[in-house]
Symmetry: C2
Subunit: 339 residues, 2 copies
DNA sequence: CTGAAAGCGCTTACAG
DNA sequence: CTGAAAGCGCTTACAG
């Protein structure tokens, strides 16, 4: 509903200046530009194609794009599930590459006809999410969460699922339980580590630093992990591998070394989609429903688009989804081979 | 460059009529509407956001959307590799759901600010591709190919890769070689079947209809396949599984039945991305580079966008990419177990 | 750096 | 069903 003229009226300036501020024209006072950006977002200004409103929702990478990954594919699928019936379209965007020199994020989104954005973020790029939130542009962060009072996020909490997983291993009789983490620290992996610590302590089992193993989040990282475990003494009899590809790579390498799974080592993996069913034995895993995260993310944007004015600046949407723990064939009591 | 006014001039009608034809206004003669659509596409009319040209390229599903699949993810990744440096954006679209009642495809694309489209198609929806081509909209088909003189496609030819695969099995000493195909017929699977027939005949091996097995393209389809193979007599000692998920499911089920791979059965799979490395033993496979298909598809659109006038209607782009055959651990001579 | 006014490209009553 | 003219929303010389 908000037009350039309307925003001009609100701010007591001319439509020409609003237009210039929106389009990053160099001859606009920085202070005016910022007021216009905030007013645009507060009143949910909508870009138009001809005389028609655009209907694009971005799936935007703030850092390195990882379009091909199963997690991202599932997120997009979830978004798309909800979007098309509302007439919205999914646009995939690499923010860093798309950005023009002196542009801010709202201007970038406007230029591309984007009404709201799902932000795919990692620890290194949380700053971009904060900036977008500060500009007031409707956005929600997925795949990472952090505590900024302006940032909306959908977060899949892996703490409780991870507790179940470690408890399962303890119940099976394991006392030497390792955990593998991505070399890059992030909030989700921290949850998984905390769960591991918590359950081991709770059962008065030793919490050894050397059982915290870091490996890159790739198939090869899984191979490295198994070779490092093989060299340990005492050797862990079970490991919680907090990344999907690493778990798959570990299974492959363990078989290569003629280990029986779960006889020689029990493995609990982590799954974003359905990779756990692709390996043999099928992975016991903590599972995150990335598709549901994508659905929730779009639903949140839809709600954000329907509020404007002061509420737009003060309403924060945060939703935590549960992970679930699923027992398959890769775990058993220590030394007990599969059937 | 072509504006509504310019198209009006070309056709000797008013800009008002052109606008109405483009926007599917009911009060336009059907014949006029079609001439406008053709002229728009011939002169590469570009929709605008405000006064700026839109830069969207669609990844459009003509049939059932399969956003989450590894093949589609790799295609999108390939497109995106090439697009962002040209300033284009990737929009994901489910054509059937996006379409308004009396609209044609060009009108749909225009409404969404789309300049050109990569069409993801299966046998059931080739008609849609033909229609889009007939309207003259810049588009290229991927994942399927068929011989319509107006349709552009990028096609990964699996015939020669499949011949190599079957020859490899024959060279290893296999004489009972089965092939598994998707329950739904399509051009790519037909290539793979023809290769199987050709090489067996060439080596004077029996080409048995009962060794042509159809299974749904899922993990469970792979399990069904192995159970059916187990029940056969004489039992094939090798199978060429022409779908990625089926091959992975088959490995899993074979291990479940305590078969040694490749000792009890050699498996050649088919891979779109890097699923072949996720299983143990790693799959010997015919590999299609879906990412390269995506890259080529965008490059083709880029070329299409740069030609207009009569050429736009008569130039057809068709490109065939090669598959390559890669030997990994899932094949060996009959009866010879892995190390 | 800003505004009043002209301009752009497209759309839409209005008249036929 | 079509066109001439007015209108819409935004942008852009022009003047200060």
């Amino acid at each position: 509903m908000a037009s350039v003229r309307e925003i001009a009226r609100q701010l007591g300036i001319s439509a020409a200046t609003v237009s210039r501020a929106m389009n990053n024209h160099p001859l606009v006072a920085e202070e005016v530009r910022q007021r216009v950006i905030l007013a645009m977002n507060r009143s949910r200004y909508v870009p138009t194609v001809g005389r028609r409103e655009t209907m694009n929702i971005a799936f935007a990478y703030t850092g390195e794009a990882s379009i091909g990954s199963p997690f991202d594919a599932a997120l997009m699928q979830g978004m798309s599930d909800r979007m098309e019936q509302c007439g919205f379209d999914l646009m995939v965007l690499d923010l860093r590459r798309a950005m023009l020199p002196r542009e801010n994020y709202t201007q970038l989104f406007l230029r591309k006809g984007i009404r709201a954005a799902v932000l795919r973020t990692t620890a290194a790029t949380t700053g971009i999410c904060r900036e977008i939130a500060a500009e007031g542009f409707p956005a929600v962060v997925v795949g990472y969460h952090f505590d900024d009072p302006e940032v909306n996020y959908i977060y899949s909490n892996s703490y409780s699922g991870s507790c179940e997983a470690i408890t399962h291993l303890v119940d099976l009789g394991h006392t030497h339980i390792a955990i593998s983490l991505h070399v890059v620290e992030d909030s989700d992996h921290t949850d998984r580590l905390n769960a591991w610590r918590h359950v081991l302590k709770q059962h008065k089992l030793p919490v050894l630093d050397k059982f915290i193993i870091r490996a890159p989040a790739t198939l090869d990282g899984g191979a490295q992990l198994i070779r490092r475990i093989a060299a340990m003494s005492p050797r862990p009899t079970a490991v919680y591998i907090t990344d999907p590809l690493v778990a798959v790579g570990a299974i492959s390498e363990a078989r290569q070394m003629n280990w029986n799974i779960p006889g020689d080592i029990s493995i609990v993996g982590f799954d974003d989609s359905d990779i756990r069913f692709m390996v043999y034995p099928k992975l016991t895993a903590v599972c995150q429903d990335a598709r549901a995260v994508g659905q929730e993310a779009f639903d949140t944007l839809n709600r954000l688009l329907n509020i404007s004015g002061e509420d737009a600046k003060t309403t924060v949407f945060r939703r935590t989804l549960a992970t679930h723990f699923e027992v398959n064939g890769s775990t058993a009591s220590p030394g007990k081979a599969s059937l």
